[in-house]
Every structure is written in structure tokens, then in C-alpha cells.
């Protein structure tokens, strides 16, 4: 995608239009891996400084500054440590990382090699969700090509630096996208999160320092190192610099992945980038950052700018940039029901407030199916959600509670009517 005003390619999808760019020779002909070669001439600390100066924020959902996270990592270059790429992309509504790596796996690999050199990690893993089998195959093929070129393995390009990179497939568990859950899973265990601190940067995979970064964060590194932090900061705002991938689904004419500067208005994303509302229907609501993000009504949706601060100021979160657009035909009771079934199914079960709480939230909708719900159940949902927040090892309980409370705040009357509507006759499993 082009930034037409500055006639410059954006950071992440600039190779995407090139046919066959998943092959290394085509990627290199377009300038791929040049930045990596330049980076091996630079001091690792200088790379870290550049990334920090760019203000890049973690693109997995939490939005923590990547350079600051890197700053927590040990500077002892000999110590055994790992680079772990989070490609477990499971937040409902999110499909940007899949879109990025299935067409351009090398941009991620280049970003990981540069990051590995900066952080002095000897081994790296791309933890990709089990459902992305074909994408794992694409990545493995690309890694093989990079090994053949001497960009991976022993003594990369004569630098004396060794870095091995592997793809590790998950097997279907949302919680493995949480970085400590991912580490448990990589260790061959159930993907149950671990208490923080210690953070993975200090004590991660196998108890050793582990840097966990999202696909999109790592894929932005080559651009930042090529054009520099000031160029990256031309986009977005002071606190939310750069470009971001957004996954847009739901009631728009053109669902898909776009790359736009942070702080692009949601209205422009819907109306310009996604071709407007499907069937010319009216906008009712938007989930702006994956199913964990509290919902916006139409008015707020049209006002919000998609950066970390503005979405938060309006009561939700940018999250992974998964935008689900809902039109006037949608019932918010259905949306909340589908959301809560998901969190109940995906709770890993180790913390009581989450294991039980997600079940209680969902149970209101089960009662509704039997025609046994009560109008006070909406208050019950609110109270249950509130008692789950901040009580658990990881953020899954909060991720279920936030959209519940958000939905009640914006669409209480509709929810009350929904739970009181007699059940539809459902086909039995």
C-alpha cells in the first residue's frame, strides 16, 4: 500500500503486490534482506536504540513499546536466550498476521534475524496457531531458503553470529496467544499462563530470558532500520507512531486487511478502505479491537481515531486492530452470547474467577435459550464480570469481563429485551 501523499511505501505491505514474493529471489530482487545485511554492520545497541526511538508499540494487542521491552532483556550476549514470535493470532476478528506471512514470509524472517542480532538470541521460534497449517508450511519453506542463503544458521554472513529459526505449531487454544501461555505450550505443556513477574524477558522459555514479540511488530523492524525512526514517526501520533494492520470483518462491502497510519479515523476505514456498509445498511456498532474490546455505538464509531490513546479515551482498546462492523440488523444479545461462549470455552481453567466466572456469564444465555432468564440477569452479568477483573494470572478473565460490561453500558435495553425473548427452537447436537 502506498502513502500517496509522500509517495512512499508503507512499512508492512509494501511487497504484497509483487507476485511470488514468498520466494526469496523475488523478495531480494525487491530489496528484501538488504536491511538485514546493513544491520550486521551496526552495533546491536544502535539497533535497539533505533527501535526504541521509533516508538513502535507491540502489535499483538497490549501495545507495550517494543523498544522498552527489548530494554529489559539481558545485554550478556553469551547467555542462552530465545526470540519467540507470537503468530498464535486467535483474538476473534483478527487475521492480519496470517495475511502478512502467507504472502510475504520473508519480511518476518528478516525482521527476526535483525532482532536476533540486536538481542543476541541464539534460537528463535515462530509459534503459529495450529489452524494455520498452510501458513506454517509457507514459513518453513521460506526459512529453508534463508538457511540456503546463509542468512540463518552458523556464522551468518561472516558476522560470527549464530541464529537458528524454527516454526512451532500450536494445536488450537486461544490462551497460547498470551505470552506466558505460549511459553508453557512451547515447553510441551498445557498452554497455561504463568504469574508475572518474572516477565519472560527475564525468565521465559525453559526459565531463560525470552523475548516474545508479535508477527506484525517483528515485520516492522526492517522498515524502521532502513528508513529510520523519524521516518516511521511521520505516521500516526506522538504516542502511537507508525502504521498498523487492521483486520476488518462483518457488515462492510470489502472485508480484509489494510495497512494505514495509526490514528486513521474509523469512519474512513469503513467508508473508504472497506467500501462502506453492506447493502447500504446503517451502522449500529463496532467492536474496534477484537472481541475483548468494549463495543462502540455508531456515534462513537464515527468519532474515534484508531490509535491507542483515542480508542482508550473513548472507553475501549485498540487491541490487535480487529474491527468487527455491525449493522442495524444485528442483535447485540447474539453478539454477547457468541463472545461469552468463546471465553468460557477458552478459559484454561487454572484461576477460579475465570474458570467459574466465564461459565456463569455464559449461563445467562443458556437460561435464555430455555426461556428461564430474568431481566435482573443483566445486573448479574455486570456484577459477575466486575468481580472477575484483575483477579487472575492472565488477562483472559478481563478479556471476557470488559466486552460484557461495555455491552451493558451501551446496549442495556436491547440485552434486557433479548434475554426475555422466548428461546428459539434449536437443533440438538
Amino acid at each position: 500500500m502506498k502513502d500517496t501523499a509522500n509517495n512512499k511505501d508503507y512499512a508492512l505491505l509494501s511487497y504484497h503486490h509483487i507476485p511470488g514474493v514468498h520466494k526469496i529471489e523475488i523478495f531480494e530482487r525487491a530489496g528484501g534482506y538488504e536491511t538485514m545485511k546493513e544491520c550486521f554492520k551496526k552495533e546491536p545497541e544502535a539497533i535497539k536504540e533505533e527501535v526504541k526511538a521509533s516508538g513502535l508499540r507491540g502489535r499483538g494487542g497490549a501495545g507495550f513499546a517494543t523498544g522498552v521491552k527489548w530494554g529489559f532483556f539481558t545485554k550478556d550476549r553469551k547467555a542462552i536466550k530465545y526470540l519467540l514470535c507470537n503468530a498464535d493470532e486467535s483474538e476473534p476478528g483478527t487475521f492480519k498476521d496470517r495475511f502478512l506471512v502467507e504472502r510475504n514470509p520473508h519480511i518476518l524472517i528478516e525482521g527476526m534475524i535483525i532482532s536476533a542480532w540486536a538481542l543476541a538470541t541464539q534460537k528463535g521460534y515462530i509459534y503459529i496457531r495450529g489452524e494455520f497449517y498452510q501458513q506454517a508450511v509457507i514459513l518453513e519453506r521460506a526459512i529453508k531458503e534463508a538457511y540456503a542463503k546463509g542468512y540463518l544458521g552458523k556464522n551468518i554472513l561472516g558476522s560470527g553470529f549464530d541464529f537458528d529459526l524454527y516454526v512451532h505449531r500450536g494445536a488450537g487454544a486461544y490462551i497460547c496467544g498470551e505470552e506466558t501461555g505460549m511459553i508453557s505450550s512451547l515447553e510441551g505443556k498445557k498452554g497455561q499462563p504463568k504469574l508475572k513477574p518474572p516477565f519472560p524477558a527475564i525468565k521465559g522459555y525453559r526459565g531463560l530470558p525470552t523475548m516474545v514479540n508479535n508477527v506484525e511488530s517483528l515485520a516492522a523492524i526492517p522498515w524502521i532500520m532502513k528508513y529510520g525512526a523519524p521516518a516511521y514517526k511521520q505516521w500516526g501520533t506522538e504516542k502511537s507512531p507508525g502504521t498498523k494492520l487492521f483486520s476488518i470483518s462483518g457488515d462492510v462491502n470489502k472485508p480484509g486487511v489494510i495497512e494505514v497510519p495509526l490514528s486513521t479515523s474509523l469512519k474512513d476505514i469503513i467508508e473508504i478502505h472497506c467500501g462502506g456498509m453492506r447493502n447500504g445498511n446503517k451502522l449500529k456498532a463496532v467492536i474496534p479491537g477484537g472481541s475483548s474490546a468494549p463495543i462502540f455505538n455508531a456515534a462513537d464509531s464515527y468519532l474515534v481515531k484508531m490509535d491507542y490513546e483515542d480508542v482508550a479515551a473513548k472507553g475501549s482498546m485498540l487491541g490487535s486492530g480487529a474491527i468487527i462492523v455491525l449493522d442495524e440488523t444485528r442483535n447485540m444479545g447474539d453478539v454477547l452470547k457468541w463472545t461469552l461462549e468463546f471465553y468460557h470455552h477458552e478459559s484454561c481453567g487454572q484461576c477460579t474467577p475465570c474458570r467459574e466466572g466465564t461459565g456463569w456469564l455464559e449461563s445467562v444465555f443458556k437460561r435464555k435459550e430455555k426461556g428461564q432468564a430474568h431481566i435482573s440477569d443483566i445486573d448479574l452479568l455486570d456484577k459477575t464480570a466486575s468481580s472477575m477483573r484483575g483477579q487472575t494470572i492472565c488477562a483472559l478473565a478481563d478479556a471476557a469481563a470488559m466486552p460484557t460490561q461495555g455491552m451493558i453500558k451501551v446496549f442495556r435495553e436491547e440485552l434486557e429485551a433479548y434475554v426475555m425473548t422466548p428461546a428459539k427452537v434449536m437443533t440438538k447436537k
Binding site: 496457531r129 489452524e131 494445536a171 487454544a173 498452554g191
Partner: protein, 161 residues
Amino acid sequence: MSTTETFEFNKDNLATYKEYLTRYDDVESALLPVLHLAQEQNGWLPDHVVSYISLLMSIPEIKIKEVISFYDMFYDVPVGRNIVQVCTNISCSMFGGREIYQGLLKHFDTGYLTPTRDGRISLQKMECLGACELAPCMRVNDDFVGNLDLTSAIQKLEELP
């Protein structure tokens, strides 16, 4: 899937297993890849497969079973030759993903993961598959198929071997 009471990796998979071990700094970390591999060979992961892996990797059987039961894509029950995962999360449900799942169960006269009588298909209700631009979508074995309705979904699955 046919199951015998004994299991061991075939020659190719044994070589792959050994290659997996070189990727990690301990044996346990290879468990998920090894389970994928065993399931690929055997179709599902019954007790005798677990016993084999337990001996092979020196991991207690109960730890392996814990892992199998935790992840949606490891099967501790027999499944059909083709696994069909239907997304029922928000974006897909908006466009009838749930009705498609229910319709497929009815058409193939089966239940969650239960193989069809000819052993051809197991249907699995899934949470967000990460392909929402294709809503409603499903995974047929390793591939995404999107923009479905019940008729096109049935048609697609009837073509399966």
C-alpha cells in the same frame, strides 16, 4: 481411521521425530510437534499411541494425556478421514456459521467429532479460525474454505474422499 493396538512411528516419521529433537534444547518441547506427527500417522491419539510416545520421549503418560485434552486439535476419540472445522465465532455467526454447522450435522447425521458412518468426515465446531474476511468459513483438513452457505458447504464436503 483404522487403529491397531500397537503403534510405532514409520521410518519417515521416526526420522522426522529425530529431526524435531534437534530443534529444541530439551525433549519435552518437542511434544506438540510429535503429537501432530503421531496423529497424522494414526488419525487420532488413543492410549497405545500415548504409551509409545511416553516411552519414546520419557514423558509420563498422564502429562501427555493432559496436553492432548487441552488442545482442540488433538483427538482422543476416533475421528473421520477428513476433519471439518466450522467457525462459530462472531464474524462467521453473523453470516450463518452456526446454522451451517447445525445443518451439516443434520445432513451427515452425526454429532460433534463423531465420524460419519462411512468414516469419511468428522465435524468440529470451532472458535475463531482467523479467516474472518471469508465469513462464514470452515477448515477442510488443512485448507480454509469461505463465503459459504449450507448448500455450498455440503457440496464441498460431499466431494471429499
